[in-house]
Symmetry: C2
Subunit: 109 residues, 2 copies
Amino acid sequence: MSSDRSELPPEPDLLLITNALSVICGKWRLYIILLLNEQTLRYSQLSDLLPEVSEKVLASELKALVSLGIMKREAYAEIPPRVEYSLTPQGRMALPILRQIQLIGQLIQ
Amino acid sequence: MSSDRSELPPEPDLLLITNALSVICGKWRLYIILLLNEQTLRYSQLSDLLPEVSEKVLASELKALVSLGIMKREAYAEIPPRVEYSLTPQGRMALPILRQIQLIGQLIQ
């Protein structure tokens, strides 16, 4: 993480934690980010990769991740319309830490 | 993180993510872990450090973190009884990643 603001606060910072949890928490949110990874995928491709996730849940998770600035959504005026998702620069910067969160899951298995 | 099992899975692993989220998610859980950090603190000290958190919530969060294997609780048969909390070895191993999660909060400020 190279941004100059990437210094850890000396004391735990509840605002930063709350912000981070909005990206991470929720049954599917982190999984969707890690699934997309550094690819650009269409909505239909994401949907195919997530058969257990309803259209409604997937759409709302993607909408939330776009509004958080982690993902970007690009729509192409084609017939049929094409909509693609990819990580924003912030999303890519967060990716190494987001991947490592899985190691915490290993520790408590 | 030095354990030999600390390899990241090639593909996102929903079970590992779900396990990890049980440690991280919840308004106060990660904040409590980072506040305790590498110290050993009495329940009363933790409670004093968390004036915004009710006794009920603090007790249930500590109980959950102990059952997850992230924290350990030691009670001393003294009068008045002394109860102390500290991170387990797993909790200490998770600490560097748990701290870094705050950087994600910086990215979306």
